[in-house]
C-alpha cells in the first residue's frame, strides 16, 4: 500500500487535534439525493465513523432547482465513506478510533506527520485567473441590486471563480500543510479521494450535533488583519460597529433560525451569540451561533432542512439560489459544499467549504471560488476587494 494513493481525509481544527480517516471499508457516492440509500449506508456503518462530502449542487434535488453550468471538477453530489482507519492525533499522542496500529497504518501516520512537520515546503508557481472579469462582476452586482430593490431577495451570496489550468500538484499533502501553515483555520480540511483533491482552509462551521443539540455558526462580515496591533484593533472595532456587516450577519441569522425551526423542538431555537468577532491569522470574521434541540435524528432530515447553508446562499434561500445560478459564471461544485463526519454515537460536525482549492487530477484544473454577501447597501468595488482579501493568502501560497 502506498499512503500517497489511498483515500485520505484530514479534518483539522488547528487546536492541536486532527481527525484522520484513511482508506475505506465502504463508500457511497451519488449524483442524486436518495434518502433511503443514504440512511441505509449510515445504519450499515453506524458503528464506524462516516465521513461525508457534500457538493453545492445537492441544492438541486433538495430544493427542486437546476444549474446552468456543469461542475468542471466533477465532484459527486454526495459522498459517504467509512474509513478503514480513523485516528485522532493530538499533541499527547494518537488514538485509533477505528482500525489498529499496524505496520501499514503507522507508516501512513508517520508519512503524514512528516509532511506536517517538515516545513521545507515545495514551491508552486500557480497563478489563479478570474473567470469573471471585474467589469462583469461590477455589472452583475448592479443587476443583483435591481432584484434586491424589487424585493425578490434581501441578501445574496454572489461568488466568482478563480482558476488555473494544466496544474501539476506533485505532493498534495505538502501543499495542504503549507496552506494550513499560513491560515490555521479551525475548519481546515484535506481530502484526497479518487481523482479529487480538496485543500480547505475554512474558518466556518456549517453544523455540529452533540446529542440532541444542534448548532450552526454562519459567518458574515470580514476584515483584513492589521499591519500592527493598533491598526488590527481599529479594524476589529470598525468591523464590530459596521451596520452593513451586522445587517448581513443578522439576515443570515434569521434565515438559519427559520431553517432550524423545521427540525427543532418547539421553542428551542436560540441565538447563543450574535455578531461576535473572531480573529484568524489571515482575517477577522463576524460569527453568530444559533442552536436548537432536534426533534429528528435523521441525517437526511437535517440536511434537507439546512442545506445549502444560508451564509452561502442569501435570503430567501430558494430565490437567492435561482439568482445565484443566473448570475454566477461557474458551477460551485464542491465549493460552498461541506465536509465533515458522523461518529458512532450519531454526533457530527460539518464545515463550509470556502477559502478552498479544489482540484481534479483528470482535467488538471484548479479552482478557487470566492464570494460575498450582496445587500442593498453593498458597494460593488468594496465587495470585489473583499473577495480578493479572502483568497489573498491562498493565492500567495500557491504562487510561491
Amino acid at each position: 500500500m502506498k499512503c500517497e494513493d489511498v483515500p485520505i481525509c484530514i479534518l483539522n481544527s488547528n487546536n492541536g487535534e486532527r481527525l484522520i480517516g484513511f482508506e475505506y471499508e465502504s463508500i457511497y457516492q451519488s449524483s442524486n439525493f436518495d434518502r433511503n440509500e443514504i440512511e441505509l449506508f449510515l445504519s450499515n456503518n453506524s458503528e464506524n465513523y462516516v465521513f461525508i462530502a457534500l457538493s453545492f449542487d445537492l441544492k438541486n434535488p433538495l430544493l427542486g432547482l437546476t444549474s446552468r453550468h456543469v461542475d468542471q471538477q466533477n465532484f459527486p453530489l454526495i459522498s459517504l465513506w467509512a474509513p478503514k482507519n480513523v485516528v485522532r492525533l493530538t499533541s499527547e499522542g494518537h488514538e485509533f478510533l477505528r482500525g489498529d496500529r499496524s505496520t501499514e497504518s503507522i507508516a501512513c501516520l508517520d508519512w503524514l506527520v512528516e509532511m506536517e512537520t517538515n516545513e521545507n515546503y515545495h514551491t508552486h508557481a500557480i497563478e489563479l485567473k478570474a473567470s469573471t472579469s471585474k467589469e462583469n462582476y461590477l455589472a452583475n452586482i448592479s443587476k443583483i441590486k435591481a432584484y434586491l430593490q424589487r424585493g425578490d431577495i434581501y441578501e445574496m451570496n454572489y461568488c466568482q471563480e478563480f482558476f488555473a489550468e494544466n496544474v501539476e500538484i506533485s505532493n498534495p499533502l505538502d501543499l495542504y500543510f503549507k496552506l494550513n501553515q499560513f491560515t490555521k483555520a479551525p475548519f481546515s480540511a484535506y481530502l484526497q479521494l479518487n481523482n479529487h483533491l480538496l485543500f480547505c482552509t475554512s474558518p466556518e462551521r456549517f453544523i455540529q450535533k452533540k446529542g440532541n443539540h444542534l448548532l450552526s455558526q454562519p459567518i458574515k462580515g470580514t476584515a483584513r488583519r492589521g499591519k500592527n496591533e493598533k491598526e488590527d484593533k481599529e479594524l476589529v472595532d470598525s468591523l464590530r460597529n459596521d451596520p452593513k456587516e451586522k445587517s448581513e450577519n443578522i439576515m443570515i441569522v434569521d434565515l438559519v433560525r427559520n431553517d432550524l425551526s423545521k427540525i427543532a423542538t418547539k421553542g428551542s431555537v436560540h441565538v447563543d451569540e450574535l455578531c461576535a468577532i473572531y480573529s484568524f491569522p489571515a482575517i477577522h470574521q463576524m460569527i453568530s451561533t444559533i442552536s436548537c434541540e432536534l426533534k429528528t435524528s435523521k441525517f437526511t432530515d437535517i440536511l434537507e432542512a439546512l442545506f445549502p447553508m444560508g451564509s452561502m446562499t442569501g435570503a430567501p434561500k430558494k430565490r437567492a439560489l435561482e439568482l445565484i445560478d443566473e448570475f454566477e459564471d461557474f458551477n460551485r461544485g464542491f465549493y460552498s459544499g461541506s465536509i465533515g463526519y458522523i461518529d458512532p454515537t450519531g454526533d457530527f460536525d460539518f464545515n463550509v467549504i470556502i477559502r478552498s482549492l479544489i482540484y481534479n487530477k483528470e482535467n488538471k484544473r484548479l479552482s478557487c471560488g470566492v464570494g460575498s454577501a450582496i445587500t442593498i447597501s453593498s458597494d460593488a468595488e468594496k465587495e470585489y476587494a473583499e473577495c480578493l482579501v479572502k483568497i489573498e493568502k491562498l493565492r500567495n501560497v500557491i504562487s510561491s
Binding site: 499527547e92 499522542g93 494518537h94 488514538e95 485509533f96 478510533l97 489498529d100 496500529r101 499496524s102 505496520t103 497504518s105 503507522i106 501516520l109 508517520d110 508519512w111 503524514l112 506527520v113 512528516e114 506536517e116 512537520t117 517538515n118
Partner: protein, 415 residues
Amino acid sequence: MSSLVSGIDKILNGINATHYFVAISSGKDSVALAHIVYSLGYPMTLLHVNYHLRGDESDQDQRWIEHFARSIHIPLKVFDVDKNIRNLSHGNLLQIARDIRYSFFDKEQAKIKNSIILVGHQQADQIENFWMHLFRNSGRSGLKGMAIKKGNIVRPMLNFHPELITSYLKEQNIQWREDSSNAKSIYLRNFIRNELMPFLSKSHPNIENSILHIQEKFKQAEAADLAELDAFNQNYTTKFPLDKLNSFSDEKLLLFMKQFGFKGSQLESFRIFLNAHTGAQFEMNTTHYFRKERNHIALVKLNTSPKFPILTIEEASYLPKKFDKKTLFVDKNKIKGNISFRYWVQGDRISPIGVKGSKLISDIFSDAKISNTDKNNIPIIVDDDHILWCYGLCIDRRKIATNENKEIIKITIQG
C-alpha cells in the same frame, strides 16, 4: 581530687545528662575516662567496638574490657564488626572504623533520652588533629581543632595533657592495654605522635602551646563569623543580597554555604556563580537550588522533587487503541539487550514518528519549554541499541509495537 577529676566533674555537671555512654578501647585515655566517670558516680554504660583488625589482640582487648566492666559493676555493650572490614575498605581504614564506631554509638545513645556519648580525646589528640588538617590543606574550620562538645559527643579530657591521665591511672593503680598499632608509624596519626612532635619539641619545646593557641584563635574567629551569619540569617531567608555575600571572607562564605550542605571544595565555583549572568543556577540538593538574580541570589525550591522513577516492564497481550507519551509499547523481538532508563546527556538523539532521521532531545526539550532543572529529571528509556523513549515527550518510531507483533512489551513509569 586531682585537677583532671575535678575538671571532668565540672564538665559533666554542666552537661547535666541523664546517662553517660563512655566509649572504651582499652587504651589508657578511654580507660581513665571510664574510671573517672565511674568514680564520680554518674549513671553510665561502656561501649566497645571490636574491629577484629589485630587478630587475637583484638579479642584480648575485648576480654580485658569485659573484665574491667565487671570489676566496677558497669554495663558494657560490645559491637562486633565483620572481620572483612579491611577488604571492603574503599577508602581510609581509620575513616571506615570511625564511621562504624559512631553509628554504633549513635544508635545506643538514641535509646536513652537526654543521654550523651563521652570519648577520650585529650590534648595530644587535639594537636594531632591540627597536623592532620594542615596536611589535608584544610581551612580555618578544620585547623580550629575539635570542640569539647559537638552534637551528642562530649570530649571531657580534650584540654588535659596526657601526662595528667597517665599519672591518674598510676595513682589509682589501674591497668590499661597498649595498642600494638600505636607503636608503629603506619598511620599518619602515629607518625605525628611518635616522630613529628618529639622532633619539633626538641628545638621548640613550646610547640604544643603554639598550636593550641592558634586553634583557639581560629575558634574565636569562627564563632565571631557564626554570630554575624546568625544576624544575616535573621534578615535574609530566601533572597540573599549579592553585595553582602561578595563582601564575605572565604571562611564566612564557606560557613554560609555549609548551611546548605555545600562542601569547602565548592567555594571557588560558588564565587564564580555569584558573579555569573542573571538566571544562572547553582545546584544544591534534590529539593533546592540557588538562582542568580540581578541583586541577590534566590533560594528556589525545585518544582517537582525528583523521585527515582520505577520502570514497569511487562508483556502485553494486545495493543490498545489509544497511544500517549506516557506508556510505551515496543516489539519484543526488536529489543536488544536490556531496557533501562537514564537521564539526558548532551548529544542524545531520538527518531520520532513523522521525522525523517533523528532529532536532538535537547531540541525536543526546548520545543516543549522544559526548564534546565527539569530536563535532568526526565527519564530516557533505552535498550542496548538506542533511545526508545523520552518519557512524556517523544516516542522513537523504530521499535514500537504494531498489531502484527506477537510479543509486545508494555513499559510504564511511576514516580
